[in-house]
């Protein structure tokens, strides 16, 4: 029988048992929809994390205090006050790099008249603007003069300015209070985007000296001021590995530590990217598992219903054989039917999953901006292919049974 005719007959036969067909493919529909939706969300999340990390610059190396645990995961980082300004100065001497020190305080209260917001404070040197790829929307960044004078000046992240003033216009020159101290706003940063802990627009910058001596710090280690982080910018992405090696060597020398007993941790943007990718890969494997199980269950449902169909249509098979159908004709008829059935399930599942991921993309999670789900052509093709393969695989047994029926026996069947 010709293929288009097989397809028409398969659709007609499925249409004749609409409810049954729908119930049969429900398993595949739900499985495929769940996977498409969650993959879409997962990839959307990964894309936004990746772009955010990359927006910070790909050739950055971070030195933070505290040891690294075995698995490469930083443990209690920042708790040990072992990183000093002298370390930063020493690292800045390395070839092909610029290095800047900063102190961080995650919970600073910023007040402007009756508005206030809680944000992250960064005490930085003027060089941080270049290292952190910061762009100003208005005003200027922290100057050497301000650094030397320990001035009470602040540069606001874009969102902080929005939160306090409702806009970024006319903010420069205003006075805000940080933990009660009055600071003059000298600049507002351009928006960078990002959400949650990665939100680069939700922070304020003051001179490092001001932070150390007037607001946050005061702790000292080996005769130098304790800082929170040293950010090194390698001249380009290719030299990052070399910079890491040299920085590690230098830090071990200065801190008199050996590998495995370091009191500092050096990470790169690539490490962060890798971690994010690893999370997403794990998610993909997990989703693949769910997809596999749901397709298996759906396939068994299809096999079950196809066996019923073959039994119900024994007489029809007998007649078709009597008028000349060969084994292969009958085999194909039922294979096409089960494949059309599971393919329909797969396509409906793709459509539903796509719709669901778009809807989930609209929802703002924990106040962070919504992520854009990414439903790739590859996952659609994969879902389509696999659902069809399931129909083929689970259709083989019922179709073979149908093809093996003897015409006389089948015609006698009531």
């Amino acid at each position: 029988m010709k293929l288009y005719r097989l397809l028409i007959e398969a659709l007609e036969s499925l249409n004749a048992n609409k409810l049954r067909s729908i119930l049969t493919v429900l398993g595949i529909v739900i499985g495929v929809a769940a996977v498409i939706a969650m993959l879409g969300i997962g990839r959307g999340a990964q894309a936004s994390i990746t772009s955010r990390i990359e927006s910070m610059g790909t050739n950055l190396v971070y030195v933070t205090p505290g040891a690294t645990s075995q698995g490469g995961v930083q443990s209690a980082a920042g708790s040990a006050g072992t990183l000093t300004l002298d370390d930063a100065d020493a690292l800045a001497e390395l070839p092909n790099v610029s290095a800047v020190a900063s102190v961080t305080n995650s919970f600073v209260q910023v007040v402007y008249s009756s508005n206030n917001t809680r944000t992250r404070l960064m005490g930085v040197t003027p060089g941080y603007q270049e290292v952190g790829s910061l762009t100003l929307e208005d005003g200027e960044f922290i100057s050497e003069a301000a650094q030397n004078a320990r001035s009470l000046v602040v540069v606001l992240g874009n969102q902080v300015a929005q939160d306090l003033f409702g806009s970024t216009a006319g903010v420069v020159g205003q006075k805000v209070r940080l933990n009660g101290q009055p600071y003059k706003v000298i600049g507002v940063l351009a928006a960078k985007g990002g959400t949650g802990f990665m939100n680069q627009d939700d922070q304020v910058f003051i001179p490092l000296s001001t932070a150390l001596y007037r607001l946050v710090g005061g702790a000292r280690f080996r005769g130098s001021s304790v800082i929170s982080q040293i950010t090194i910018k390698a001249s380009d992405a290719k030299t990052v590995d070399q910079v890491v090696q040299e920085a590690t060597r230098l830090m071990r020398e200065r801190h008199e530590t050996v590998e495995g007993a370091d009191d500092f941790t050096i990470t790169t943007q690539q490490d962060t990217l890798d971690a994010a990718t690893q999370v997403s890969d794990t998610l993909t494997v997990f989703l693949g598992g769910i997809a596999g199980i749901s397709l298996l269950v759906g396939g068994i449902g299809i096999m079950n219903i196809m066996l019923t169909t073959v039994t119900e249509r024994t007489h029809e098979i007998g007649l078709r054989k009597a008028v000349g159908a060969k084994r292969q004709d009958i085999l194909l008829q039922f294979l096409v039917e089960s494949m059309v059935l599971s393919l329909l399930g797969g396509l409906i599942g793709v459509a539903l999953g796509w719709g669901a991921s778009q809807m989930m993309g609209q929802v703002q999670i924990l106040g962070s901006s919504a992520i854009t789900p990414v439903v790739g052509v590859d996952s659609i093709l994969l879902a389509t292919f696999f659902s069809m393969a399931v129909g083929l695989f689970f259709g083989i047994y019922p179709a073979t049974r149908a093809a093996r029926l003897q015409p006389v026996e089948a015609l006698r069947y009531e």
């Binding site: 078709r320 009597a322 000349g324 159908a325 060969k326 004709d329």
Partner: protein, 236 residues
């Protein structure tokens, strides 16, 4: 055309053996019209299934157009049924999901050489010839018994077979409709020279054929020319 030599057919039901045919031999020439008669259970349908290449005998030989049927593979038998033989059953055996036209076209779906256009042309022509030109797009269940049997005859004719096998074709019809169907079948022999083998209980119907083979308990009890007189008697 049909050459049956000492055919037996034994059905096995568990340990019980049911001999349906116990040694049957006869020839049927091209263009003959033959009635097969006998009581229920005498082996008529079993014999028709073997002649129709739907089933193989337990022993004995069957030559169709000189071809030894026992030597054919399952799929080759399907091809023979498709090309050479048209079946008409007591139960009509139409597929309720398909339209009248698609039912009639069914054998051509397994022929593979014709374009859909040619298939449609042929089925329309044949359905008009059996008086169903107006009903082609109906479902079989919307038709009367006589009309359904006409669809079955159209289906039997669509692939231009040499042999029509009809197993009690009028068994489910009232006598008037049955006579119409018989006229249609006999007309095929008269106009196109088709060979007809018809199983029937009805002596009036048997009398319209040329030859009557009587079966009893799986054996041939009689094989004689039909009484000639009644052949022209029935008209519609």
């Amino acid at each position: 055309m049909i050459d049956v030599r000492d055919i037996t057919k034994i059905y096995r039901l568990g340990s019980v053996e049911v001999p349906a045919l116990r040694g049957v031999s006869f020839n049927i020439a091209r263009g003959e019209v033959v009635a097969i008669m006998g009581q229920s259970g005498s082996g008529k349908s079993t014999l028709m299934n073997i002649i129709g290449c739907l089933d193989l005998p337990t022993s004995g030989e069957y030559y169709l157009d000189g071809q030894n049927v026992a030597a054919l593979e399952e799929d080759q038998l399907a091809e023979v049924r498709n090309r050479k033989i048209g079946f008409v059953f007591q139960q009509f055996n139409l597929l309720p999901r398909l339209s009248v036209q698609r039912n009639a076209e069914l054998p051509l779906a397994y022929d593979g050489n014709l374009s859909q256009r040619e298939i449609t042309r042929r089925s329309s022509e044949i359905l008009r010839a059996v008086g169903l030109g107006e009903r082609m797009h109906h479902r079989p269940t919307e038709l009367s018994g006589g009309q359904q049997q006409r669809v079955a005859i159209a289906r039997a004719l669509i692939n231009q077979p040499d042999l029509i096998l009809a197993d009690e074709p009028t068994g489910n019809l009232d006598s008037h409709t049955g006579a119409e169907i018989m006229n249609l079948l006999l007309g095929l022999n008269r106009d196109q020279g088709l060979t007809l083998v018809i199983v029937t209980h009805d002596p009036h119907i048997a009398a319209q054929t040329q030859r009557i083979i009587r079966l009893k308990d799986g054996l041939i009890e009689g094989d004689e020319a039909a009484p000639q007189t009644t052949t022209q008697a029935v008209s519609v």
